[in-house]
Assembly symmetry: C4
Homo-oligomer: 288 residues x 4
């Protein structure tokens, strides 16, 4: 039993962590397998390739399903709390990786299974989660979190603009120029405001073109807003977590994270270190 | 009479404010109604849906008009100054929300009423106005206000570029390549400079393509300008700028953010650096 | 004679400056005239309008030419150094404003004169030059100047990318897919890298589409470069001109523009105010 | 022999460096030759020009090959370690510049040689390397280096988005609307997410258009991410970050940029605030 628990613990370290050589090797093999399975899905969708190698891809898909099934079983076995793992975000994604292969037995040519097979790509982030890139991803995430409310206000404004302009274009241009309904008008407004400009629906009347010009310049200008929001937040996130505390003397309100004294006026930031004991402190510092 | 005033006051709090549970519930119901009425307008514009459910949508529109009319009446009744409310920005928008339903009696299929019905969407910002998002919206607005003059200079430059390049292209490409007039040329220049690129009008002559390349690279580069302006202003709005503190000696009242000494007279700005204990500390410093 | 000089001086103030009411009124009339003349040029280029009102526009153009000619004569007369004015940038632009009307006598339908007529728009900046917008324009210009060298490096890199990718696409796609020559390939590369995407020339081969994807993601990412350059420079320009001088004690290298003492360590920044006299200084400050 | 070494050393300075007048002249001539050879390549690819001047361009190409061969020989001769030079990045590029001319003897019309001939453009950066632009390029490079990991995370996220959305669109729209395979779907997703929007493949079904709108708004918003990353890094690279100065008491070695006092022990970081004169000043402060 004891050696069994030890073996299980060792397996858990290999499967769930990446601090050991074996753990990193496991992650790398997994990463390569995921990419290879994705590559097969993509390749299989090309008509001419499917005709010649479709049979091979079916076998390979069976192989990948087997590998991912074994991996899922290992994770369930090695996990200290199998149920909690099974219903966690990554646990469900891991299960999803097996599903298409199993379902394909019943529904032979089900197109919609493709999406599930591609969702496997999300598993890359599981591996990424354990790497040095995590810190960088955290900067980006904390900047996104910090700008969430501003982005919401921005997106609400964009939605309003797009709805109003889409309706205006529907009324002005009408169905004869491709604006067959308000949703179509909104679609056009989004295509234009985001400066994508497919060109499948374009204004033909002079009034429509004037309105378009307005939408385009608006879109060109307000791209500055999310950029500005995100840049300001990221600069904040990168400057490092700072201590938010008003200095009792000079009211300086941000300090280095471990600051005990204000860097501007030299006074103690917190009650205890302050006032009377201050004189002894200099010597005490040296004696310690 | 007194209980009437109290009831009216209570109504005012529910209808105009969102600090109470009842007030927030009123706002939420209003928000849902607005979105639902918008959804109906958008859906009704689709030909196939209109054929089957047009009669239902007409009834629903009557319902929304009734709801908004009741709401408008309540606001007029609850407002301490009904006339001031009626002619305020949101008062007019609230009135506009009823108008299409009433006008539809006389003008059955009036397309232009659609725009008025969509303008109801602006009422969302009335609800937003009372929420915690306000602070974030204020950051954005103050950054926009701060960059207004710079943006004006930028837009004037863009207008000039667009007019000159539009005329150049009209002369170079001519009507046979779609540049039928200078306004058309300006429209093309806007489509190109903003990097939208519909592709409905494209240069065909070598000279026109060289000029286009110039416009595109220009547009790609000067998008940096509004972004830079807005980012710099937003960063300003988000951090406190300068230290507001009178120098005890020369009374200079603004300093660099982290200034410990006055840059004009060199004296310490805050107590500790100039206080009595300073003498002991100074020696301790030297003795170590 | 003396009253003549006085009158001329007064005329100079009205025509060249905008500090007086008369000067501002002159600028406003000029601005309106320029915009109106531009509007006529643009309107005249529309075929249907030209048919009906072409005769009217010809007369109006004569009127504008007369007005601008009178203005040019006034400027020449009022200028203290007429020759210097005549060969200055704005002097030449002012002359250009008259030219098309005069040349139109000989070359009736000269299309190329249109460009000269539109170049009149540059005269708007002459009026702008004298307005409160100047300060904002200066911020933008100083940021552009500061980022000039970085932008040059960036544009050279973009040129190289565009040439190499254009040639690659010409070789891969070939004339049968619209890439008839290397210049055409470069044109396509610019259209794609700047995210304009007209769609008049698009890759058809798989290899071409893979390469396109690379160019697009590159273009999408490196737009960050000019934006970053400009934002950083503008933030610098807006922070106010700073004193670049190493503090002799703590080596702090930027200070407020009028700083005499370092705001970090309180020591004199320049030799004379320093060392021995330092003790007297405090009192001297007060006595002065 | 000695004079030979001297001559070789002098040649090395001219060929490899740009501090002397002769060195700069050599660089300029090289730059002009490279640009001229590029210009010929580009011109030669235009069908109509090739017909008339193709024979001339062949001779010119021979000339350029001769010049670059002589230059390569000179560099090999002047270099103190010819082998190391030959296998360095620029050594190989220099060799590549001769190759097409030599290979053209055997393969008359080899299209792929064009690419090699255009790669000569990279040699411009060799000249740039020795110029005052180097410092500016270094700012940009150090900002890019600093943002490398963040950009990797960003590109991985973009790749995942593009793959998932491309597959979704392939399933939703299908081959009848141009989405013939998943790679085609991914190509469309890249075209849309980067806001290029060629318009060669566009969604036709309502569901496809809704999904497209999502992709477009996503693309429009996340362009903020690389811009934010790069701007924040460039701003970092352009300003000195933290104060590097040992605290005389506790030896803490990095401080906030404008720190006057150590935030750990509260002692003054620089002489004046703790020196002898401080005592007089302190009282003067209080007496005023």
């Amino acid at each position: 039993m004891d050696s069994n628990t030890g073996w299980r613990e060792q397996l858990r370290i290999i499967v769930f962590q990446s601090d050991t050589t074996a753990g990193r090797r496991f992650d790398k093999i997994l990463l390569v397998t995921i990419f290879f399975s994705l590559f097969i899905v993509v390749l299989d969708s090309i008509e001419s390739v499917h005709k010649d190698f479709g049979w091979l891809f079916t076998y390979l898909e069976w192989g990948f399903t087997a590998i991912f099934a074994v991996e899922y079983a290992l994770r369930l076995y090695a996990s200290p709390k199998p149920l909690k793992y099974a219903f966690s975000f990554y646990g469900l994604i891991d299960l999803l990786a097996i599903l298409p292969g199993v379902l394909a037995i019943y529904y032979a040519d089900a197109q919609y299974l493709l999406i599930v097979r591609v969702v496997r790509m999300l598993r890359i982030f599981r591996v990424l989660k354990l790497s040095p890139y995590l810190k960088q991803a955290n900067y980006l995430l904390s900047a996104l979190r910090g700008s969430r409310q501003k982005i919401t206000v921005f997106l609400l404004t964009v939605s309003t603009l797009v709805t109003v302009f889409g309706t205006l274009m529907y009324v002005i241009e009408g169905p004869e120029h491709g604006f067959t309904s308000i949703p179509k008008g909104i679609y056009w407004a989004i295509v234009t405001l985001t400066t994508v400009g497919f060109g499948d629906i374009v204004p033909k009347t002079p009034l429509g073109q004037i309105l378009s010009s307005l939408v385009m310049i608006l879109g060109y200008s307000i791209i500055a807003v999310p950029t500005g929001i995100f840049t300001a937040e990221l600069a904040n996130a990168m400057r490092g977590q700072q201590l938010q505390h008003d200095c009792p003397v000079c009211a300086k309100d941000t300090h280095e994270q471990a600051a005990a004294f204000c860097s501007r006026c030299g006074n103690a930031l917190f009650a205890k270190a302050g006032s009377g004991e201050d004189q002894q402190r200099g010597k005490a510092d040296i004696s310690t």
